[in-house]
């Protein structure tokens, strides 16, 4: 009996210390808060506020952002920013759980294609139009803000834009006497100059679809998807895209998916990490402007030069069909208790020279005019990313649907491209099947 009592006591003690452990720490923080708020209310009227800020990224981004937060807290001592950061892998799972459970951070870095996921009617995030002066929205063009707007409500401020551009390995192109392609015909003609086993470009399943879709949009002048997620291509338009892909394969312009797979490329790691890309056998790629700078480094280390080829267009093209979208946006939680303070923070990292310099270009080349001016003065704006963006901005395409990158649709693109590359289906069969599958998926995801 004694033993049991002792045990029960021990357990009770353990539990109670745990409870008081939490409780007391809560007490102490709330005390601290009240203390400091009384203190600040004496010296300055601002209230002590803590805001949570979440983002994904790599170490350089984490470090730069943490520095910017430090500077912000020095400038605005009444606002504390609690950083919550992680890598990209599994980030959407976490974000979704938090959004569903109502525990998402006050300030969030979000992906552009999450807008239809979390905010179909525009009410999923705080309407930033209400904070336009705090946010310095006059630094952004109307077109740019439109990309973050859902149903008339500004859900997120685009941080940077990114788009798909053709980049080629100039060293290899020069070696084989191929010309940097301006038109699709150039690109196809180049292929004959490359020796067996070498290719002018390499495109994975998803890249291949985007490239072929761009071509078909240029030919037809029609967007593939509407912005509200309806299929705008007919089966024939899809066939135009897929026939183009088949031509690229047959003329050995792009590598078959088999060759990519054989090198261990599985769609998870960037295609620019394939051994044959690094040694110049695959001499070009259709890549996001935001990803290219990092991918060009190993090419440079191998004494080769990657250059911007731009967006190929034939003379009869009806549009550039440029794919250009926000690479990421900053949003404020719709339930955020201190939206003004959150906006002050965003304005600091997006527009304030001090914040902008700390943040650098690791989230891409900023679209805010103030930020761009600051970084231009510092000589930080140049290179492949900037060149690519300038080409895309000089040739505006069709309105881009935020549904384009839906993972379920991506599965359809990948399946179709793979079946053509592995010779499982003819272009006609594949176009028919793709058309049906796209309709099915779109009806599910836009419900």
């Amino acid at each position: 009996m004694k033993k049991l009592v002792a045990l029960a006591l021990a357990a009770a003690l353990g539990i109670s210390t745990l409870l008081t452990g939490c409780g007391s720490s809560n007490n102490s923080t709330s005390q601290k808060n009240t203390n400091s708020s009384t203190k600040t209310s004496e010296s300055q009227p601002a209230k002590q506020v803590t805001l949570r800020f979440s983002w994904w990224g790599d170490d350089t981004r984490h470090q730069a952002t943490l520095n910017a937060i430090k500077l912000f807290e020095q400038k605005y001592p009444n606002i504390k920013i609690q950083a919550e950061y992680a890598g990209w892998d599994g980030y959407l799972d976490k974000q979704t759980t938090q959004m569903a459970g109502g525990t998402a951070a006050d300030i969030m870095q979000i992906n552009w294609n999450w807008l239809p996921l979390f905010s179909k009617d525009g009410n999923g995030f705080y309407d930033l139009n209400k904070l336009s002066s705090e946010l310095g929205l006059d630094n952004y063009s109307k077109d740019i803000l439109a990309t973050g707007t859902v149903n008339g409500k500004l859900n997120g401020i685009p941080v940077a834009m990114t788009g798909r551009v053709l980049y080629v390995n100039k060293t290899m192109y020069d070696k084989y006497g191929a010309t940097i392609p301006k038109t699709w015909d150039d690109l196809i003609n180049d292929a004959s100059k490359f020796p067996n086993g070498s290719y002018p470009i390499v495109t994975g399943s998803y890249d291949s679809w985007l490239l072929s879709m761009t071509y078909a949009e240029q030919e037809t002048g029609k967007p593939f998807l509407t912005t509200d997620g309806k299929l705008n291509f007919t089966q024939d338009d899809i066939k135009t895209a897929l026939s183009f892909y088949k031509t690229l394969l047959d003329k050995k312009v792009t590598t078959p998916i088999q060759s990519i797979a054989a090198e261990g490329g599985n769609g998870l790691a960037p295609i620019a990490q394939l051994p044959s890309f690094l040694n110049g056998k695959f001499a070009g790629l259709f890549e996001w402007t935001s990803a290219i700078s990092k991918e060009a480094t190993p090419i440079k280390q191998n004494n080769m030069e990657l250059v911007t080829a731009g967006l190929p267009m034939n003379s009869d093209a009806k549009t550039s069909a440029a794919i250009l979208k926000p690479s990421m946006l900053f949003a404020i939680n719709k339930d955020c208790k201190y939206p003004k303070e959150a906006a002050t923070f965003l304005n600091f990292i997006l527009n304030d020279p001090q914040g902008v310099e700390a943040m650098g270009t690791n989230r891409g080349i900023p679209v805010s005019k103030a930020a761009l001016d600051t970084l231009k003065k510092d000589g930080k704006i140049s290179g492949l990313e900037y060149e690519g963006l300038q080409i895309l901005e000089s040739k505006p395409g069709l309105p881009l649907s935020p549904y384009l990158e839906d993972p379920k649709l991506q599965q359809v693109y990948d399946q179709t491209i793979d079946k053509i590359s592995y010779n499982q289906e003819t272009v006609d069969q594949a176009a028919k099947e793709m058309y049906t599958n796209l309709q099915n998926v779109l009806s599910q995801i836009t419900k």
């Binding site: 261990g264 599985n266 993972p407 079946k419």
Partner: protein
């Protein structure tokens, strides 16, 4: 009475874990499998629609076929390989403890990104395996670009993690009485005959145990396809657990993901029950008097 309470207190942490991490998800997934649930909105009851969709989904059937192929290739390979290694490690060799530890290491490494990178170097078209084959004049095999090749690469990952099955086999081998081998030697049985007439029959309970465990594990394989092949080429290595993951956490179609989970659970149960019911024909327990006397 007191002892009972203390006992209960001792196993309480485990019980809490069981309820939270096993029973709760188990029941929830069954309920969710009858709903349309995307995490953001509340689940909608849709009856058996998910199960009906499943049977009309060609990706599901490709995935199911791939899973069966994977199991059929992996389980026997792994059992034979770990038994083989256990058999060698059962000899009294110099530094045997070092080898026993060394062979266990792959199991600890398990499936992580580093291993996935390693696997790419081993099986890529210019990788280690193809280079070795080249020495014998064999043309490079497209391990990742052919269906069977890709299944083999992810099977190889499982087989390579043979440590725990090997240890269990080793324990079983040590349990076989030495007299039986001596008796067999006196009767003039050779090494191979002794192995098949003495070792294997007495090892059947261990083989049975390992077979059941490996069967269940193989059906649940996720790391290999996710990290090495991403289900490719053409969904030939898109095993059911990966399809469950994609539907639940990539497409946020929790209901459908749960329905596939339950299908997988039933398939595993059928296979396990089959192995159990067949065991009376091929598993011998020496204390039943079947082996000796």
């Amino acid at each position: 009475m007191e002892n009972r309470r203390i006992g209960l207190l001792y196993i309480l942490p485990w019980l809490i874990g069981l309820v939270i991490f096993t029973i709760y998800p188990f029941v929830t997934s069954l309920i969710l499998s009858f709903t349309n649930y995307n995490i953001i909105n509340a689940p909608q009851f849709i009856g058996i629609q998910n199960y009906v969709n499943m049977f009309h989904d060609s990706t599901f059937w490709t995935s199911f076929t791939a899973t069966l192929e994977y199991v059929v290739i992996t389980v026997p390979l792994k059992l034979i390989f770990s038994l083989f290694i256990a058999f060698i490690l059962n000899y009294k060799l110099k530094g045997i403890n070092f080898y026993r530890t060394a062979y266990y290491i792959p199991s600890i490494l398990g499936g992580n990104i580093a291993i996935a990178v390693l696997w790419k170097f081993v099986f890529a078209n210019t990788g280690l395996v193809n280079q070795v084959l080249g020495v014998f004049g064999i043309k490079p095999v497209g391990w990742f670009s052919t269906g069977l090749g890709a299944i083999f690469t992810i099977s190889a990952l499982r087989v390579w993690e043979f440590g725990s099955t090997m240890v269990i086999f080793l324990a079983g081998l040590k349990d076989i009485p030495q007299e039986l081998y001596e008796a067999a030697a006196v009767d003039g049985a050779g090494k191979i005959k002794t192995f098949f007439k003495v070792t294997i029959p007495l090892l059947t309970p261990i083989i049975f145990f390992n077979l059941v465990m490996q069967l269940i594990q193989a059906f649940q394989e996720f790391n290999g396809p996710y990290m090495i092949t991403q289900g490719g080429p053409l969904y030939k290595t898109y095993l059911l657990p990966m399809m469950i993951y994609d539907n639940s956490f990539k497409f946020f179609n929790m209901g459908y993901g749960s329905a596939i989970s339950w299908f997988l659970f039933i398939i595993i149960m059928i296979f396990t029950m089959f192995v159990f019911s067949s065991s009376k024909y091929w598993v011998f327990y020496s204390d039943e008097g079947g082996g000796e006397s």
